[in-house]
Amino acid sequence: MSNSFLQLSQVCIDFPTDNGPFRALDNVNLDIEEKEFISLIGHSGCGKSTVLNIVAGMYQATTGGVLLENREVDEPGPDRAVVFQNHSLLPWLTAYQNVELAVQQVFKKTMSKVEMSDWIMHNLELVHMTHAKDKLPSEISGGMKQRVGIARALSMQPKVLLMDEPFGALDALTRAHLQDSLMEIHTNLGNTVIMITHDVDEAVLLSDRIVMMTNGPSATVGEVLDIELERPRNRLELADDERFTHYRAEVLRFLYERQKKQAA
């Protein structure tokens, strides 16, 4: 048996339609090591989110399956925390309470009240949100909401952090700030991360490997690109780095030559 930390093997998924089953993913194989940062990139509709949802346990693969530390994934759970694209904070709870909900659920048996409170504050600290801990989601900006969403996911101490286009809805500057925060957190905590993105620069900047997916239907892993840039990475220095430009060009070539979207 393989010893990969997270293993997707021969994952296929069919969705029922009126015209019979629709094969969204076909034979997706992926081995992910602990502490690795993986980006999934591909044209919209290629099934990136479906892959993430299968790892999260929201969908069940029709054939094949997902093993996390050699145990099969068959339902959602806090060991595979998800950062949703639109933050998905509960609008009636403050930033603190939103993280608290997760912490209470995951650590209710192992932590005392004081420990929980410290842990919540620690996670808000990681995303630099302690100053707004008593604000409701409607009172803070989109970027801040996403920070709280990340804090909530981190607070579950997940084995894998799943991020579904976490910065897709943010403006470029806010996105850059959050990318830097995420890099910092990844350096300090060493989380295993799978992130979906549309942004080629973001993928190259953050990832250890970029998984490029072919177009659907029957989408699968097209190519995997290793990003051998030493960490910590600095976006300004990398902007002039030839390797960065090269990786970027590789991804672009895959997306716009080999997987050119017909009549997009």
Binding site: G57, P78, F84, S88, L101, Q105
Partner: protein, 340 residues
């Protein structure tokens, strides 16, 4: 509507950010005062115009009970109904005083004497009827809410339950209270037989009729609120593996609070209207009975007294709605939602 929201907005502003309101007042003193002035003036003017039209129309209409009463006559009857109530209370107090002295005397003569204690059985005044109605509608409404909210939640969560319940709800919803009343009366008479009843039968009949008529909006609204919860929030609950109860309590209920309250407000409004009709038909104590009694009575004051009742019914209905609105504001997380 626009006007109302304006009043509220300016009110909210002063409440929330007093310094800013002050600043505004300093910057635009004329405008600021003017806004409040028109906000007060317009409703008053409208009221005066209404009174004028009423009074002139009433003077044109001659009925079998004399001239149709205008505002002045109605106001006189309001005072008279209130003094009736005060007089009745005094009579009651005197009755109990007399009874006590009588019993004390009896016991003085013979300590073993059996003392009779009778409760006062004077006629119910308008004010008494008003409180009876309020008590009945609140009881009926509370029972309806206790049934409707859980049913609505279950029906919102499960498509199967929704499919099962929906036809029944749609059939029962439009049924008039007057159709429920005979059934409820007969069932209560048959089932509720006890030597020492906790509630009077008439109260039960009225309250149950209210319950039956005002459940439906709450069920429907709760069910819609619950079934339209953001899919992502439910996914959060799945990732956290929240238990069934925690999910309801932490996610489903708070997110459907606005819809639940919309339903509750509709329900209470319907309940109040239904109750008055039921009291008239069944001769159960309450404002409805008061109106009917005055109609049967046919004295020269009757029409004015009925009109007093109409205003009181309207004002109570309005106040009940305001109370619900306050409660809704208190529990609503969405401060931006405009609630009126």
């Amino acid at each position: 509507m626009l006007f109302k929201s304006f009043i509220r907005n300016s009110f909210l502003k002063t409440q929330r950010v007093t310094p800013m309101a002050l600043e505004l007042a300093v910057k635009f003193p004329k405008n600021f005062a003017g806004k409040y002035f028109t906000a007060m003036l317009v409703p008053v003017v409208a009221l005066v115009i209404f009174m004028g039209i009423w009074s002139s129309v009433a003077s044109q209409i001659e009925t079998s009970l004399g001239q149709l009463p205008g505002p002045v006559k109605v106001w006189e009857q309001t005072i008279s109904l209130y003094s009736d109530h005060v007089a009745e209370r005094e009579k009651e107090i005197k009755f109990y005083e007399r009874q006590e002295t009588r019993n004390a005397l009896k016991l003085e003569k013979n300590p073993d004497a059996k003392v009779k204690i009778r409760s006062y059985t004077g006629k119910e005044t308008f004010i008494d009827q008003m409180f009876t109605s309020l008590y009945t509608v609140i009881s009926g409404f509370l029972v309806a809410s206790l049934i409707a909210i859980p049913v609505g939640i279950v029906s919102g969560l499960s498509t199967t339950v929704h499919r099962a319940l929906n036809p029944l709800i749609q059939i029962f919803k439009p049924v008039s209270p007057l159709a429920w009343l005979p059934i409820v009366t007969i069932i209560v008479s048959a089932m509720y037989v006890s030597a020492d009843p906790m509630f009077s039968k008439s109260f039960l009949v009225s309250a149950i009729t209210v319950t039956l008529c005002c459940m439906w909006p709450t069920i429907i609204n709760t069910s819609i609120g619950v079934s339209s919860i953001d899919e992502d929030l439910l996914n959060v609950s799945r990732v956290l593996r929240l238990g069934w109860f925690t999910k309801i309590y932490k996610i489903v209920l708070p997110s459907s609070i606005p819809m639940i309250f919309a339903g509750l407000r509709l329900s209470l409004g319907i309940g109040w209207m239904v109750l008055i009709a039921a009291e008239m038909l069944a001769q159960n104590p309450g404002l409805g009975k008061f109106v009917w009694d005055e109609f049967q009575n046919g004295s020269s004051n009757s029409l004015a007294r009925i009109m007093v009742a109409v205003f009181v019914i309207g004002i109570i209905g309005f106040m009940l709605d305001r109370v619900m609105l306050l409660a809704q504001r208190k529990v609503s997380w969405d401060r931006n939602a405009i609630i009126r």
